[in-house]
Amino acid sequence: MYKIEFDKNNGETESLYVYGEESILSELEYHNILINHNCRQGHCGNCILHLVEGEVIHHDSLIPLSLSPKEILACQSRPITDIKVKIRD
């Protein structure tokens, strides 16, 4: 199992443990952590997260969004190590 640490940007961090079979967005939803999202298909860019630590498998986004090196789409990525993510500043 992998650990996802979600930094809420208010000093609090929530930790969840996942099998890495579903998208980070779905995993956060299952644990009642609601982040902005919309299309779930990788083209609206609403669910961009900042990957602070760890590695993910990232599907190609359907529409090339301008993602910075440490930015990921929560709906298109799954963890492959323990990770720490936070909402984009």
């Binding site: 609601l34 779930r40 083209h43 529409i63």
Partner: protein
């Protein structure tokens, strides 16, 4: 102004707003003001599918075994989607094309509307497969009060915009006497109608459709009506793209990157927009009561559907930087994600229709910094 299908004025499309600038003349895509619409068009084209690709023959057997209340849910749900796609298959072209000013937006609107017509064709494909008299299902749509009420709410913004833009395209601004009424045509007011129409379309594709999707996927979670659910999954994929487009248009308008009038209008209209979200959610809740009037089905009832509606309304409003109107709640239908997310389950190709196959979607551009073949020698 008088509308011309080929405006001979030479204008730079990079300086035009999305709507109500110079009408488009040359359909050119070598340069784009808002590249996102070109990407959306390419993506929509790569999604191309036909309902006949999906086998719905088992659905007929499943349908015959459904309880009467479940048949009511299934058919009413499909009838509602037929209404929504009938509206969406024709209205973007009629309402938006005469006033669009950017070739990439024009092209996107046409591609968008075309994809909705595929959805309409797929409902006929499903209904033909599951009932002996498909005509009855279609004829009943216009006789069902609950559906007709909703037809009014999804088409009223379009109708108003179309009426005023037609007058504007024929006579320009001013007071115009029509056969039985006098219209005060003012461009600022028409832009306001445009903003509210795009918002109404966003609500239609972001919330109203999802009530239907939930019902279709709930049947398939029980392993019944799976052919139908596969088609609805393809429709949902398209709708997510359309939703991105209206959301992008709204955010461009709100940000002032498009037309300063629309930035002002967006601020003025915020209370009205919030009310639109509230009204639509209430209408969908009433619809949930109608769907489940004879009893619920395994996995779904009116109460859960209403909670899902509140959840999805909050999500959609947040995407438009609006304060959510319902209390924070978790997703009451988490299994919906399996149907709405990209394919995340591997299956043998012969076992299912492949929905992840995209037409012409391979990126074959090669840059100088690409070094994938740097060690390759002949």
């Amino acid at each position: 102004m008088t509308y011309s299908i080929f405006n001979q004025k030479i204008s730079d499309t990079l300086t035009q707003p999305m709507f109500f600038g110079d009408t488009v003349n040359i359909a050119r895509f070598d340069k784009q003001k808002f590249e996102m619409f070109e990407k959306l068009t390419e993506k929509q084209l790569s999604f191309f599918w036909r309902p006949e690709e999906i086998d719905v023959s088992k659905d007929k057997i499943d349908f015959s075994k459904l309880l009467p209340n479940e048949r009511h849910i299934f058919i009413s749900n499909l009838q509602y989607q037929i209404l929504l796609d009938s509206v969406q298959g024709r209205s973007p072209t009629i309402a938006f094309l005469p006033i669009v000013s950017l070739p990439e937006v024009e092209n996107w609107i046409e591609t968008w509307a075309f994809s909705e017509t595929i959805h309409s064709r797929s409902y006929t494909h499903i209904i033909r497969a599951i009932v002996n008299e498909p005509g009855v299902v279609f004829d009943d749509i216009m006789k069902t009060d609950e559906i007709i009420q909703r037809a009014t709410s999804v088409s009223k913004n379009y109708d108003e915009l179309i009426k005023y833009t037609q007058a504007y395209c024929l006579y320009g601004e001013g007071k115009h006497k029509l056969k039985d009424e006098e219209l005060e045509v003012n461009l600022y007011d028409i832009k306001r109608m445009l903003y509210l129409t795009i918002m109404s379309v966003n609500i239609l594709e972001a919330i109203r459709f999802y009530v239907s999707f939930a019902c279709s996927f709930a049947f398939a979670e029980r392993k019944v009506m799976e052919g139908n659910a596969k088609i609805i999954k393809l429709i949902a994929r398209d709708e997510a793209l359309h939703l991105t487009s209206t959301q992008h248009m709204i955010n461009l308008m709100k940000s002032g990157k498009d037309d300063p009038d629309l930035e002002k209008i967006a601020k003025e209209c915020e209370p009205e927009v919030i009310q639109m979200f509230k009204d639509a959610t209430q209408q969908e809740k009433d619809w949930a009561d109608y769907l489940f009037r004879d009893g619920s089905m395994i996995g779904l009832n009116a109460e859960i559907l209403k909670h899902y509606l509140e959840y999805i309304t909050n999500v959609r409003m947040s995407s438009l930087d609006l304060e959510p109107i319902f209390e924070h709640r978790s997703n009451p239908l988490p299994w919906m994600n399996h149907w709405l997310d990209n394919d995340n389950v591997q299956v043998a190709p012969q076992e299912t229709e492949i929905t992840s196959y995209l037409v012409s979607a391979i990126d074959n551009t090669i840059n100088e910094d690409d070094n994938d073949f740097s060690g390759f020698k002949l």
